[in-house]
């Protein structure tokens, strides 16, 4: 059902955890639906210098969370916003069709976290912020 890459990220997920002094936090999903993920980001000179995740969900929810932290680390905020759900799935060698929507939310969580930072920069401040986005 899952590719080797998905299983590898499920077994050894990268960047699990929280960033206590994160600049942006994005949460998507809902435990009622079976998937909930939170992405924490730390930004310096417009770059994502640190990124961590916490996820409740199935194998693909965990693997996509792990993958997005790898894809986004070191990127600029603008580049981070361009990472799509499809990019994440492709990098994992594909996901089962039924998992494409429900368990492929990591890109949304990253975008939510980045948008908070962009909004606060526009207001001339950069402080810890949290956003919750309900998917679908």
């Amino acid at each position: 059902m899952y590719t080797e890459k998905v299983m590898e990220h499920f077994k050894n997920p990268r960047n699990v955890g929280e960033i206590p002094d994160a600049d942006g936090v994005g949460t998507v999903g809902n435990p009622v639906c079976g998937d909930l993920m939170t992405i924490y980001i730390k930004v310096k000179d417009n770059r994502l210098v640190d990124i961590k995740f916490k996820t409740f969900g199935c194998g693909s929810a965990i693997a996509t969370s792990s993958m997005i932290t790898e894809l986004a680390k070191g990127k600029t905020l603008e580049e981070g916003l361009k990472i799509t759900r499809a990019n994440v799935a492709d990098e994992l060698g594909g996901l089962p069709a039924i998992k494409m929507h429900c368990s492929n939310l990591a890109a949304d969580a990253l975008h939510a976290a980045i948008k908070i930072i962009i909004r606060s920069m526009e207001k001339g401040e950069m402080s810890k912020n949290e956003a919750t986005v309900c998917p679908l």
Partner: protein
């Protein structure tokens, strides 16, 4: 499949390939084999005679045949069907289908263990009720229903009682005469027989009509050339199950209870689904808070332990198990469920090993979960 079953089937695939409807020697040999198997299946459920057993393609067909065969033939008596909220989809979906054909269907609720609410059953049983369909023992949470009591209530209103004994037959004693069952679904592959075969017991005198019309096999109630080898295998499986039931169910019950202890005791926020004692000997259904079932299955699978879950993430529908919701679990609780089925080949070492894996798996997944409370994060 059980090797003794395969051995019994082989001659009917290799050398004796007659059609039971043929009058020649091979045909009659096949017919004899089918009738012997029928007697063995009848013996397993204490049917009054072997002719009450109709072979089908499996439990799904048996459930469809029982429900539609009764309601279509008894439209003159009424149009109301009662079932429970914890049935298998092969009962749920035929019942839902009937609602599009002018029938009234009521899904009677269960309590937190999965036992049918007998007061609700009584209340919903009207003079227009023709059929009540209840599972003997639940395949997901193992709960064994009080069939004899249900039968008394149903028959007091002159309705028919169909019982889906797919998960129960072969594991625990099922006695259609003593328990007052009018129709009973039996599955071959749930008792180590071949897949693609099942049976429906239909008590003599039940007003009934077939779904499949054709050459008139199975007393005209299920046309189609008999799958002789599979029927012989089913008969063998039924005979073995009956002979070994007492010792095997005692052995499995002990293993089951050891396993449940091993899965729950070392881990906080872990719970049993279903009833602790009135449950199938082979069923172990538990749940862990703050984590999701599929990720537990994958973790176990990597270590050679094969389980299943009622989580939406393992279902084609993306909905958690209706059985777990019916016993009152919240969606997020149902997502954290894990089910094991013990078998004839499982040993004490197997359940010890599987249970020993869980603390690390749960700890790892809880460590990743944003739902885990702070007190568990050590």
């Amino acid at each position: 499949m059980e090797s003794r079953v395969i051995e019994a089937m082989l001659p009917y695939m290799k050398s004796s390939y007659g059609n039971p409807s043929s009058l020649h020697v091979f045909g009659q040999e096949a017919k004899r084999a089918v009738e012997e198997a029928r007697a063995k299946v009848a013996g397993l459920i204490n049917a009054e005679k072997k002719e009450s057993i109709i072979f089908t393609s499996g439990a799904t067909e048996s459930n469809n045949l029982a429900i539609k065969g009764v309601v279509n033939r008894n439209k003159d008596r009424g149009n109301r069907v009662l079932t429970s909220s914890v049935e298998h989809m092969s009962v749920v979906n035929p019942c839902k289908f009937l609602t599009t054909k002018g029938f009234e269907v009521v899904f009677v609720p269960v309590d937190k263990y999965g036992f049918l609410n007998l007061e609700s059953l009584q209340k919903e049983l009207t003079d227009k009720t023709v059929l009540v369909s209840i599972v003997y023992a639940n395949g997901e949470i193992g709960t064994i229903e009080p069939i004899k009591e249900i039968s008394k209530i149903v028959h007091a209103k002159n309705a028919y009682l169909h019982v889906d004994a797919t998960a129960a037959c072969g594991q625990i004693p099922v006695d259609v005469k003593n328990e007052g069952i009018d129709l009973l679904t039996i599955s071959s592959n749930d008792m180590y027989g071949p897949r693609g075969l099942g049976a429906l017991y239909i008590k003599e005198g039940v007003r009934f009509e077939p779904l499949l019309h054709g050459g008139g096999q199975e007393r005209g109630l299920r046309s189609g050339t008999e799958n002789v080898a599979a029927i012989v295998g089913f008969g063998e499986a039924a005979e073995i199950a009956k002979k070994e039931m007492q010792t095997e169910s005692a052995r499995l019950t002990r293993l089951r209870d050891m396993f449940i202890d091993g899965l729950l005791k070392p881990i906080p926020y872990s719970f049993l689904n279903g009833h602790p004692t009135t449950r199938l000997p082979d069923n172990v259904s538990v749940r862990y808070s703050f984590i999701e079932g599929e990720s537990m299955l994958l973790s176990l699978d990597m270590m050679g332990v094969y389980a299943s879950s009622g989580s939406a993430c393992t279902a084609k529908t993306l909905e958690p198990s209706h059985v777990l919701l019916a016993i009152g679990l919240k969606h997020e609780e149902a997502h954290g469920s894990l089910m094991f089925t013990l078998g004839r080949n499982n040993t004490e070492e197997d359940v010890d090993y599987a249970a020993s894996l869980m603390p690390d798996i749960v700890k790892r997944l809880r460590g990743m979960s944003p739902l885990t409370p702070k007190e568990l994060k050590t």
